[in-house]
Symmetry: C2
Subunit: 491 residues, 2 copies
Amino acid sequence: MAKEITSRNENYSQWYNDIVIKAGLADYSAVRGCMIIKPYGYAVWEKIQAQLDRMFKETGHQNAYFPLFIPKSFFSREASHVEGFAKECAVVTHYRLKNDASGMGIVVDEDARLEEELIVRPTSETIIWNTYKSWIQSYRDLPILINQWANVVRWEMRTRLFLRTTEFLWQEGHTAHATRQEAVEEAERMINVYAQFAREWMAMPVIMGRKSEAERFAGAVDTYSIEALMQDGKALQAGTSHFLGQNFAKAFDVKFLNSEGALDYVWATSWGVSTRLIGALIMAHSDDNGLVLPPKLAPTQVVFVPIYKSREELDRISSVVSQLRNELHAVGVTTHYDDRDNYKPGFKFAEYEMKGFPIRIAIGPKDLENGTVEVARRDTLQKQIVSSNSLGKFIIGLLDDIQNNLFSKALEFQRQNTTVVNSYDEFKSVIAGKGGFVLAHWDGTPETEAIIKDETKATIRCIPFDSKPEEGKCIVTGKPSMQRALFAQAY
Amino acid sequence: MAKEITSRNENYSQWYNDIVIKAGLADYSAVRGCMIIKPYGYAVWEKIQAQLDRMFKETGHQNAYFPLFIPKSFFSREASHVEGFAKECAVVTHYRLKNDASGMGIVVDEDARLEEELIVRPTSETIIWNTYKSWIQSYRDLPILINQWANVVRWEMRTRLFLRTTEFLWQEGHTAHATRQEAVEEAERMINVYAQFAREWMAMPVIMGRKSEAERFAGAVDTYSIEALMQDGKALQAGTSHFLGQNFAKAFDVKFLNSEGALDYVWATSWGVSTRLIGALIMAHSDDNGLVLPPKLAPTQVVFVPIYKSREELDRISSVVSQLRNELHAVGVTTHYDDRDNYKPGFKFAEYEMKGFPIRIAIGPKDLENGTVEVARRDTLQKQIVSSNSLGKFIIGLLDDIQNNLFSKALEFQRQNTTVVNSYDEFKSVIAGKGGFVLAHWDGTPETEAIIKDETKATIRCIPFDSKPEEGKCIVTGKPSMQRALFAQAY
């Protein structure tokens, strides 16, 4: 395997691409903007899916599946939704191909034109609310708490593996409620689920908050997001949860008989995270040696590499490894044994560093004599000699330690790169210099937000839930502000 | 809930649709031929997925994800594949919509026409083999054992919920091998995995065999299938596994350096099952009271229904149910407690019969006194009074018994509806009369097969792997035949 990747300092963007490709997470495809998620990348996605799915079910949600295609006219129903979503998308216009009359391949059969074009879903609010109309009559049919795991397509002009692709995989929750308060609570519950997942599973600190009007989801009354800080000082929106009010219920005429016997429109939320999380995971922890994965999301947590000269040595090592692996499996640790004979240990070490296996265990003849193994942790690259007795307990502790260390390191990075500023000059100098999150007063208008974006490329990531009310003046207009907003340049 | 469904005798096809809708498995959508898989139906699919995924991983496969879109030209590469798949499909021609100049909604932006049309995948051999080209250089890169869980689209003219829909969910395995033998073994291994899954998990007996040339997958050298018999005497193809030879490797120029240092084309297989399995599951076991699910695939295995007059009685019952549910969860049984106060027990009984919960447990005041519960099994509708002591052990045994009984019953049905015939008159009379599987001698030619299909609507489902060599004469042409083929009218 080609070991070298571009360093972060040299070219952060190239470093990211190198890791995606060389760790075997994803590959470019023959279709513009669409990626291939390779087995190792998909295994990370399966880990993410499994845990999120558990958390969704624990909070009362069920999975379902709605059509890939949405009739074009559905997008026109919700006024702001059409502006946000119905523009750059894949349009199905025909349903048949035929042999070219001149015998040169196949062509679209113009006789098979659809009466109404179908849009490949960029998000499913419209088709789902059109369906909910027939499922909801009374308050007894509510709440509906549904999630969907699906692929979606947004015709992006500039794409990046995992971060922004034309097709991506995601989950989208779509819930229906009898009251405004219940829907707001649901939207808040799910942004908290995302934050908990980011922190505890991805070892990635996030700031939770409310989006400004300009950054809100097209069709939402309120959008909440979790925002993470990447190592290059740019922010990444990692998940969003929307309180949709009665907008989609009104657009699709979804009314219900409430407990007092009156007709009312249904209240809605939607919320989603995507394969973009894998991009966030890569950028949050990895280094110039390759990918670094938190143990809770690593497809394989421990790799064993034998160090041997003879077949006989290998056999003795293999027998010990087999016992140790059984011991680790019994305590829920996933392992791999790399006994390939055609690669040297040094090559294997570099490969597992590139792929971000949290722990590497090397065993040689001396270890057999001493009853030890050499344990190397990926996060700090430190090695230590450990007794192979009760290895299970040691590894469990070490995996915990790595998980916690990754989170602490990322949290410390976030703290060091969050700056409170009180003037626009200071704002501009931080954004142009060290970057990171900037907390600043803002007068609450889209106009000021647009000026800042235009002049600095920084946007309001969110108004953090935990930001204290604090009197101040907008850094641009000097108008009064009651709370700081979180700014950053963002992916 | 509306209890009544059409009986099988009255209208089998309507009975099927009634069950799908009234058991809450799926719903029609606003998009022609596309269905909505409702939470209960999706929960069955999740059970199917989980077990198949385990079996795929146990046989060495990894999951990955390839693009939804396939460039039109890819289909022309493999001559027979284009005939089979590139005709009735969804064609993406544009990537943008715009506001209509007259202000009436949105229209396709003719300036955003794709240079080459994209086809929504009907199956992924072409895009995957185009990718494998860059992944395979030497025999050391082989085998590649990849599976994909995905949605696919085939523009069907006549659709049926689960059985034939324009969009459906499936898995497609795509493997690459260094030798012909290894690929043949893989194709055989996977049809055996499907057969094992059908028998042990779906409680559905299947006949495994090889397809005739006419029924083969477009692009395959050999197609193996599992065929199940439905209660109306029609066959249903439940899964296929294809030995693709070097056809796709040649079409996409995928060569590798073998261990002798020579260049050779790679050998391939592909194999898949889809949400159609849910249709098979419904038709294999259900009755005029509704859905019957095998315990191993039932989203919830046991439902508790309290029988009470007063709030105080309900509280006492709830407390006992809580203990019993804990006991059942501890031994891995899934349960639900329906303590809804606004529905009568009789209504609930009918609802869980409709939804096919394998076991229903009713508890009333008399049961509390006697330390008993009333256990009703869905398959036979029999009830019995059982001591609530060590209920876990009893339920485990009963679930096993139900699973086995469903299989035995279906196997007995298949035996009684498999007829060995020796003349074309007999063949026609069986097909037109009792239906079912018919084993008959056939001269092996597509011409004879076409005559039979034309005259009787019966097709060759497969040439069973376990059919004994036996000299005979083709029922149509009288030409010599060495083996009987399995015929049936099919879904």
